[in-house]
Amino acid sequence: MYLMCNSYHFVLRSSLAHGYPLSVLGTSLTACANLFFAVVKPSQTYWAYGLPSAILSVFGADFVFSAGTLFIAKVALPHEQSVAGALFQTMTQVS
């Protein structure tokens, strides 16, 4: 699954402009998921707040991770790509 998503972003990024739209889309959708739960009313049904936020929350993780990994691997010099990728993983794990 991870490989599929990454490959898709590679192709998409080579045709679109560097995957910035994907990052923006992913981060804003995850933010929407958090907003849904920030204004949640416990008396309301699950379908009003829980379902949309559960669906939206995964977008950011998927999009940002694959687009970001490819972006920093492309930006870094060839002999620094391993360090750059390790830093990226560390940043996501530390958070």
């Binding site: 599929m4 490959s7 192709v11 998409l12 981060t27 739960f37 930006v75 996501t92 794990q93 958070s95």
Partner: protein, 163 residues
């Protein structure tokens, strides 16, 4: 960094008892070692870039060049921060949603799992959709490139034989 992470974990585990001597000592030590590490890497990078200084065993090439963060006009650092913040929100979302369902609404773990199942399904669906469009897009791109290369041929100066 390891010291700092250990401290954060310890503090979050034992919040009322956090002010003990070893915690404070490790906190100071962690901050100081992180700063020292950054300065050390900066010095090693400067030394590596300076051709007049001889290479010594005591001064190996830096593990993480600080100039790495300024690649592509600082977009590298921005991408790292974006990933960091995205994971902050995603992880805290997961944490609080589980608390909300299990502690506030008093649902069982199975019921909570059912309510979080759309995350899993959405991920799988997106991957499948992406993969099918990926194969189409990839074929289009590759075919176009190969056609262009064939059309240019040897005269184009970049002839690529068929694989």
């Amino acid at each position: 960094m390891g010291y700092l992470l250990y401290i954060f974990r310890t503090i979050s585990l034992s919040w009322p008892l956090m002010v003990t001597s070893d915690i404070i000592a490790l906190l100071v030590l962690g901050v100081l070692s992180t700063i020292a590490f950054l300065f050390w890497q900066h010095y090693l990078e400067k030394r590596l870039n300076n051709e007049h200084l001889p290479a010594r065993r005591r001064f190996p090439p830096p593990i993480m060049r600080l100039s790495l963060w300024t690649r592509a006009n600082g977009r590298f650092a921005v991408m790292q921060i974006i990933a960091f913040l995205t994971w902050c929100s995603f992880m805290s979302y997961n944490f609080w949603v589980q608390l909300f369902y299990q502690e506030y609404l008093r649902l069982s773990p199975v019921q909570t799992m059912l309510r979080l199942l759309p995350m899993f399904i959405t991920g799988v669906v997106w991957y499948v959709v992406f993969f099918s469009s990926l194969t189409c897009a990839h074929q289009v791109v590759v075919n176009k490139q190969q056609c262009c290369r064939r059309a240019r041929g040897w005269e184009g100066g970049c002839y690529v034989p068929d694989v």
